[in-house]
């Protein structure tokens, strides 16, 4: 087994050194104060603030400003609605085939969609073949959103954080913020091992996941596609997590699973579409067969791309839920 080289990249890659440690937070956050006297202290402070800032002489001005703001907001919204209603009344009639919206772009997509992309579902053929770059950008938006929520809501494990002596104050969690306590806080009012939920989830979760896989794989033949199928699989995983708890779910979905799934899905999408752009721009023949329309293995690259998008969306939906509940994977 070859040894790890010790440079800055491998240290960052294996998670030993965090380059964003002092640079992301703007100022150190106040530690989570204990609960016992704090509620009364907060209410006293609230009253004091209200007296100091809502002064007797400023009281009248502040109230006037508040009322003016509300009246101005209502007037502005009503003006906005009426201007837009007047605009809507001047639009061409709804459902008319001679609208300017129905121009030659949609005619081209409908008439040559089946021959050029091989997809029976014209909308899927459009977003994964003609306009695949937009879908790539959208998958990236999902990934960036997950990373942002990870930065905001993540709780470090106690062992890893307390093991380092030089860690600054706000990184070391005060006792209340470790994962175990957060989890206990979260589930203290829930009945554990609810029999009805477990039996029903044991029946429903396989059906939901199989339905999600069906929707993804048939994206080019019937309504659906990567986004819908991914959301359905994500919802099935959330139901499983709710019914069976965190330990059982961590048997098959850990942080490593999430990382490598998203990485491979996005990289495969990028490489596949780069190949398509390259051969299309240079007027070469791409070697990917289109197959017969109506079969599952048809339409060139649309089926693998649907699977990639579906995986990214499912992992993202599940990751949002787990980060909100537990603060970590």
């Amino acid at each position: 087994m070859k040894e790890k080289k010790n440079n800055a990249f491998t240290r960052w890659f294996y998670g030993e050194e965090d380059t964003l440690l002092d640079k992301v937070e703007m100022k150190p956050q106040k530690e989570y104060a204990p609960r016992e006297g704090e509620i009364r202290e907060l209410m006293k402070e609230r009253e004091m603030l209200r007296e100091q800032i809502y002064d007797v002489e400023d009281n009248h001005k502040l109230r006037l400003f508040h009322k003016m703001y509300q009246i101005a907001a209502v007037i502005f919204c009503l003006t906005l609605i009426s201007i837009m209603l007047v605009t809507v009344s001047w639009l061409p009639p709804n459902g008319d085939p001679d609208n300017p919206v129905n121009n030659e772009v949609s005619a081209r997509y409908i008439e040559s969609g089946l021959q050029e992309t091989g997809a029976v579902n014209i909308v899927t053929g459009m977003i994964l073949d003609y306009r695949a770059f937009d879908t790539f950008g959208e998958s990236n938006v999902l990934f960036i959103a997950t990373v942002t929520v990870l930065i905001l809501l993540r709780l470090d494990k106690e062992k890893k954080a307390l093991a380092k002596p030089g860690v600054p104050v706000y990184q070391k969690p005060v006792d209340e913020l470790t994962i175990a306590k957060a989890q206990a806080d979260d589930r203290v009012y829930e009945p554990k091992n609810d029999v009805i939920l477990q039996k029903v989830a044991g029946f429903l979760v396989p059906i939901i996941i199989i339905f999600g896989i069906y929707v993804i794989l048939n994206g080019h033949l019937s309504p659906g596609g990567g986004f819908s199928g991914g959301a359905i699989i994500g919802a099935g995983l959330i139901l499983y997590l709710n019914a069976f708890g965190f330990e059982k779910t961590e048997r098959f979905f850990t942080e490593k699973t999430y990382k490598w799934t998203c990485f491979f899905a996005l990289t495969f999408y990028c490489l596949a579409k780069s190949y398509s752009f390259f051969t299309g721009a240079n007027h070469l023949e791409s070697g990917i067969p289109l197959g017969t329309p109506g079969a599952i293995l048809s339409s060139g690259l649309i089926l693998p791309l649907n699977i990639c998008v579906g995986l990214v969306v499912a992992c993202t939906m599940y990751a949002f839920y787990v980060l909100f509940r537990k603060g970590g994977f």
Binding site: L42, C77, V88, N94, G95, I110, L114, V123, M126, T148
Partner: protein, 125 residues
Amino acid sequence: MVGPNLFINYGEAVAVILFGIGFSNLLLQKNLIKKIIGLNIMDTAIYLFLAEKGYIAGRVAPIVVDGVQEVEAYINPVPSGLVLTGIVVSVSVTAIMLSLTIRLYRRYHTLDLDEISMRLKKEGL
């Protein structure tokens, strides 16, 4: 001043009214969670408007059946593609905003925007 098509375009009119309601929610509510719900209502109202622009009366959904490929048989597929991306981006934006709300609550223990700005003023930010 009012054009001829206001009642034929009732779908777009409802979309615009919902946009206005969502926007006034965003401006006038004091609670942060209701502001986020208002933003979501604005989002879905715009998607309704876009989907209405793609509808043509008497035609079916853009899935090729029986090899029929004339333009006169299907609705316009282009706005449908735009909205599909938009829905997923909207859920990402909602998730980010809700996580920001949780962090704000941990720090200031309130969900009222007036009070948060009072405390910020007190801290001198």
